[in-house]
């Protein structure tokens, strides 16, 4: 189980580090992508543009810190759920968007949403599994049972 947890940790850390770097290197492109969702007014969108990539990077690093790993995994569940909801609402409204997820600037419309929704669902699932695995591996003082790998 420890190996599985580490493997998931590696995948999530890699993906979110990559996502963060693409956004930090081109904030304007990420800002345009957020604007394409038509969800946030200008100032909140600008704050998200600047803050989000650093949150992704912080969580990617925190996954590897023993006392913070589980919390980081839980926060990634929440973050990926937010991405999924944003994507689904745009799809439901019928808007063409630029995903902005991993530096991808292609336009997403109609059925082209499916792979992006699938990817986000996959990320949420991985984060949930890691969070559960970390909970099982947590020390006795938290009341969680120890799991023998």
């Amino acid at each position: 189980m420890k190996i599985v947890a580490h493997a998931i940790r590696l995948v999530l850390a890699f993906l979110f580090t990559w996502a963060a770097i693409t956004k930090i290197s081109d904030p304007r492109a990420f800002q345009d992508a957020i604007a394409s969702y038509h969800l946030l007014p200008w100032l909140p969108a600008a704050i998200v543009t600047v803050w989000m990539p650093w949150l992704e990077l912080t969580l990617a690093v925190a996954l590897w810190i023993p006392r913070l790993g589980r919390t980081a995994a839980g926060m990634l569940v929440a973050l990926c759920s937010v991405f999924l909801v944003a994507l689904l609402q745009a799809w439901f409204r019928g808007i063409d968007i630029t995903c902005g997820c991993f530096g991808d600037s292609s336009v997403v419309s109609g059925m082209a949403y499916l792979p992006y929704v699938g990817r986000d669902l996959g990320l949420v699932s991985l984060a949930v599994v890691l969070w559960r695995l970390d909970a099982k591996a947590a020390p006795v003082e938290t009341g969680a049972a120890l799991d023998n790998p």
Binding site: I24, D26, P27, R28, Q31, W42, A46, I47, T49, V50, W51, P53, W54, L55, L57, T58, L59, A62, R67, L68, R70, T71, A72, G74, M75
Partner: protein
């Protein structure tokens, strides 16, 4: 409770890093300050270009006829071809081009500038940021 505090700490760390990025990264600062984009030009800079610039009015015919920047040519997506020809004939390589429409939120000037850059090879086409009426003749 412990995990709430940890979450808050991680959020705060990200906020501090984001703040530092705004301080040290001009691109991040430009986003937060809604700074001028590469394809935009301020009213002051546009005024300074004077007669050297080619002015493009991206509004409707009715708006154009009720008043426009002196010497401006009209170009919009309702009559693109008919209006493009005089623009192409007037423009010379190296000539700056300023495209304007009604207001800050107006999309027409942005669309026209994009098409001039992509379809006409006019790389210097920029969108006016501000109120064009400051450039009207008295």
């Amino acid at each position: 409770m412990g995990s709430l505090r940890k979450s808050a700490a991680l959020l705060a760390i990200a906020a501090v890093l984001g703040g530092l990025s705004v301080t040290f990264n001009p691109a991040a600062r430009a986003v937060l300050l809604d700074a001028l984009r590469e394809d935009e030009i301020t009213v002051a800079d546009a005024k300074a270009l004077g007669a050297a610039a080619l002015w493009i009015d991206a509004r409707s015919r009715a708006d154009f006829e009720s008043g426009h920047v002196e010497g401006a040519l009209q170009l919009n997506e309702d009559s693109w071809i008919e209006l493009l020809i005089p623009v192409i004939e007037r423009w010379q390589p190296g000539m700056p081009v300023v495209v304007y429409c009604d207001s800050q939120g107006c999309q027409a000037s942005r669309k026209v500038a994009e098409r001039l850059r992509a379809e006409a090879g006019i790389d210097s086409a920029k969108v006016l940021r501000g109120d064009w009426s400051e450039l009207r003749p008295r």
